[in-house]
């Protein structure tokens, strides 16, 4: 279509130039709508999308869980959640308009009557909307055990497709997607026996973060990095996701999950993929995901004998945080006595392909560490000959590129620079780029972006079935080894507020050291 001519059939020339592209009319059903994730993230995200005029022009929200609520009860709970957790104070007129038509469907997720009632509610909304067909998006914000149950009931009731109306149906599945490779394969089979892969949106909310997406821009929109982005110039990579807090109220989930499942299997491996992937042809969902899967497949899962040499775990003991004594993991509310769940996991992986062979990738995550930080540190090899060697001065460390994802999003590059004076002495200096100082816009919450993308049908920032399975394939042998009866009593402890267990140093190759958290 050109601006000079009439629109071609099937085209919408009005969308060109708009920052916010239209989203199809949608009814969003949240299973587990009064749960913690829904209250803290999903409902505030929906409000902020409404505030900005980004929701579909015809939008309905349906909540469901076992709680016996009326529509008004749900409206009140949702409004309270938005007021408490929204990133901006809500405009009450918008909030009231958003929640005016919400519906609530009470019932057990394993009860066919729930889906009968839901089907009736959706039919009513279709009838009210009339002229346009409403897409349906089902958001599974429940305990993982209910994922297959809900999917199968949706299929049995025929809610997995909108036959004849031309509308689309999507299902959004929260993490964790499985707890082992076998369970992930089983879940995929059960989900894909009802929905097609193009309807499934597996959430890894890290991918909705602006700085994570910016890794694609950083690598593929700048000429200067690609020539050194390989084994010839990069000595090692460290990916760290450290938290200074404990498990809070998540003991029920965390004690059966642990650090490896909670962060490494999904978030950290996603960061590794974005760092290592080849340039995609374009940013289409499958183009990006094809490249990520290639990276995951290039990581050979360890054999049982290799696990101890490439993976270290730990559990926090009592220590000090912010000058105050804090309890150890086993003293936290809800944690089983003698629990051997790891609250720290560190891995050394190798991406066995032409670009990365021989480069160690160190992944590390933990609770109750010294500081909250998520970062990727790429250490370059030293220059082949240092002309400035000065025995009276410490050796100049090689260049290091650090991409910080939180708390302060930015990129920093360490360079050698001359110390002012009459002698030629070099010391490292930092070239800093702070996102907050370079853009006037505020980053949206990850869930805002992901909910919108799912409603729009764009799966680029979601995990594909083979991707999820490839992630588990890497972690499965470690899970098996750590869960084996012979090794459950060998969980090293580290003091809360520290750098993690000293045993993690054993993963490091000669000359490498963990960055200080």
């Amino acid at each position: 279509m050109t601006a000079e001519g009439a629109p071609a059939p099937g085209e919408n020339p009005l969308v060109e130039g708009l920052e916010r592209l239209p989203v199809p009319p949608t009814v969003l059903v949240i299973f587990g709508a009064t749960g913690d994730l829904s209250k803290r993230k999903l409902l505030p995200a929906l409000y902020n999308l409404a505030h900005e005029g980004a929701l579909p022009e015809r939008f309905h929200l349906v909540g469901s869980s076992r709680s016996h609520l009326s529509d008004d009860d749900f409206r009140r709970e949702a409004a309270d959640a938005v007021r408490e957790f929204s990133r901006r104070p809500p405009d009450e007129t918008v909030l009231e308009a958003l929640l005016r038509s919400v519906r609530w469907v009470s019932g057990g997720f394993d009860d066919p009557a729930t889906y009968e009632a839901l089907g009736t509610t959706l039919d009513d909304l279709d009838a009210e909307t009339g002229r346009v067909a409403l897409n349906r998006a089902f958001y599974l914000s429940t305990a993982p055990g209910f994922f297959p149950v809900i999917v199968e009931h949706l299929g049995r009731r025929g809610l997995h497709e909108c036959e004849g109306s031309g509308a689309g149906t999507r299902i959004i599945i929260e993490k964790p997607f499985g707890s082992t490779l076998a369970s992930a394969v089983d879940l995929n089979e059960r989900v894909l026996s009802v929905f097609s892969e193009s309807q499934v949106f597996r959430i890894d909310h890290y991918l909705g973060k602006e700085t994570v997406q910016n890794m694609l821009a950083f690598r593929f929109a700048n000429r200067m990095f690609e020539p050194v982005w390989n084994r010839d110039h990069i000595a090692s990579v460290q990916i760290t996701a450290a938290e200074d807090i404990g498990i809070g109220s998540r003991a029920g989930y965390y004690d059966s999950s642990g650090a490896l499942r909670d962060l490494v299997q999904n978030h950290l491996l996603q960061l590794l993929c974005l760092l290592c992937m080849e340039p995609p042809i374009d940013l289409g969902a499958d183009q990006v995901r094809n490249e990520k899967v290639k990276v995951l497949k290039a990581i050979r899962p360890p054999t049982p004998d290799e696990v101890d040499a490439m993976a270290v775990r730990g559990q926090y003991a009592a220590g000090t945080a912010g000058g105050e004594p804090v309890p150890g993991y086993r003293e936290e509310d809800g944690v089983a006595d003698g629990s051997t769940t790891e609250t720290f996991a560190a891995l050394r992986l190798e991406v066995r392909n032409w670009r990365w062979a021989g480069v160690p990738f160190y992944l590390r995550t933990g609770k109750r560490l010294a500081r909250k930080v998520t970062e990727i540190a790429v250490t370059l090899k030293p220059v082949p000959h240092m002309a400035f060697d000065d025995p009276s001065h410490p050796a100049l460390p090689p260049n290091q590129l650090v991409m910080t994802i939180q708390p302060d999003e930015g990129v920093s590059l360490s360079l050698g620079a001359k110390i002012p004076g009459t002698r030629m002495q070099i010391r490292p200096v930092q070239m800093e780029f702070q996102y907050g100082a370079a853009f006037v816009s505020q980053s949206p919450e990850a869930y805002e972006r992901l909910i919108l993308d799912a409603m729009r049908g764009d799966a680029t920032l979601f995990t594909r079935n083979d991707e999820a399975e490839a992630q588990w394939r890497i972690c499965d042998p470690i899970i098996a080894r750590w869960g084996a009866p012979s090794s459950t009593d060998r969980v090293p402890h580290y003091a809360a507020g520290s750098q993690g267990p000293a045993a993690a140093d054993a993963l490091l190759r000669d000359g490498d050291s963990w960055r200080r958290i």
């Binding site: 601006a3 000079e4 001519g5 009439a6 629109p7 059939p9 099937g10 085209e11 919408n12 020339p13 009005l14 969308v15 060109e16 130039g17 708009l18 920052e19 916010r20 239209p22 989203v23 199809p24 009319p25 409404a50 505030h51 900005e52 005029g53 929701l55 579909p56 022009e57 015809r58 939008f59 405009d91 007129t93 918008v94 909030l95 009231e96 308009a97 958003l98 005016r100 909307t129 009339g130 002229r131 346009v132 067909a133 031309g166 500081r371 708390p407 302060d408 930015g410 800093e432 702070q434 907050g436 100082a437 370079a438 853009f439 006037v440 816009s441 505020q442």
Partner: protein, 365 residues
């Protein structure tokens, strides 16, 4: 010296300003003062970093500069990194300058926050002829410069065209919409223009685009038979831009609108049919911009969008189906939000504005 408030005020976040001022001064001294204040800030706390996003140069009448300061103080996070205000007092002989570097009063450990630099220059009419030699040394290099002259000052604007990458205008400010659009078009030939009148139409454009976006509705875009745009009595330029946008996107042939008893109207040629266009002033509208839009399709369907609580109120009526109405959710940005959006848009490019402006200019002839 450390004081509170001023041009760099941030709503709801307590800030402090480090300030330098000098009478009868020159750009090198001012520039040195900015650098010294930034160094001081960094010494106070390494968490203070100076932003490198956008310069904004504002040309104002000295006597109305307080009102502009208030408007800029309300733009929230969409503030420029360095704001240079040239307050023009015709009789003034020397340049006085006040520099402030503002930042939130408290920075949490490990956090970084961007400072906000403001330079207020009191200048006379005699300085306008060489204004670029005063302002040029004060803009941050390698970041875009946005120029805004809400009180006219066309001669001063002309002097700054060489350093401006973006001009901010508001076509509804001129009493004559045609003159405003011609002027915006003239500026567009030299630099990128962000027009606040255009930005006031954004929610309306998004919603019209959204309404006709479902696959089964797209074909109706080529069957529109009537367009009515209702607008604030002083915002005819915004209505013309919205009409120009539809004309340029849908291939309507723009022709001059004719003044009638209740507004401007014309019949524009589309490929399949003519489109009856009517622009009507709405005296009940209290804020600049549009108050409503109605479009008819050849099938007899009528879609109306009007301002309402919590967003735009949509009504659809037509043969064979009951009338429906609903709310298109969205918060009002207010005039400060529109100005903030204008600053943000200085870093973006909208390829549809210029074609819409060209069509609007013809409609206004």
């Amino acid at each position: 010296m450390r004081v509170r408030a001023g041009y760099a005020r941030v709503v709801a976040v307590p800030t402090t300003d480090n300030v330098w001022r000098e009478r009868d001064t020159e750009p090198p001294a001012i520039e040195a003062a900015i650098r010294a204040l930034e160094r001081d800030r960094h010494r106070e706390d390494p968490g203070y970093v100076h932003a490198r996003v956008l310069n904004m140069v504002v040309l104002v009448d000295r006597e109305w500069s307080g009102e502009i300061a208030n408007r800029l103080g309300r733009v929230g996070r969409f503030h420029p990194s360095r704001l240079i205000v040239c307050a023009i007092d015709p009789g003034r002989r020397v340049v006085d300058a006040l520099v402030s570097v503002a930042a939130p009063a408290e920075v949490r450990e490990g956090e970084t926050v961007a400072t906000r630099e403001t330079v207020v220059l009191d200048i006379g009419a005699r300085h306008v002829a060489g204004l670029e030699t005063i302002v040029g040394p004060l803009v941050k290099t390698d970041v875009p410069t946005l120029v805004w002259a809400p009180h006219g000052h066309h001669d001063a604007v002309r002097r700054l065209m060489g350093l401006a990458q973006v001009m901010l205008v508001d076509s509804v400010e001129d009493p004559d919409a045609g003159t405003a659009l011609r002027r915006a078009r003239g500026l567009s030939e030299e630099t990128y223009v962000v027009d606040l009148a255009w930005l006031r139409t954004t929610p309306w454009r998004e919603r019209i685009a959204g309404t006709f976006d479902p696959a089964n509705r797209r074909c109706e875009l080529s069957t529109l038979t009537r367009l009515q745009v209702r607008h604030h009595p002083d915002s005819r330029a915004a209505a013309l831009l919205l009409t120009g946008w539809l004309a340029s996107r849908l291939g309507w042939e723009p022709s001059p609108l004719v003044s009638g008893a209740d507004g401007l109207q014309a019949s524009l040629h589309a490929q399949r049919q003519d489109v009856a266009v009517h622009l009507a002033a709405d005296p009940s509208q209290t804020v600049p911009g549009l108050s409503g839009i109605t479009v008819d399709t050849a099938s007899g369907e009528t879609l109306a969008l009007d301002r309402g609580r919590g967003g735009l109120h949509a009504t659809i009526a037509g043969p064979g189906a009951p009338t429906q109405d609903w709310t298109l959710l969205g918060a009002s940005r207010g005039e400060s939000g529109v100005l903030g959006e204008g600053i943000r848009q200085a870093l973006l490019r909208d390829p549809t504005y210029l074609p819409a402006l060209r069509a609007a200019e013809i409609l206004a002839r």
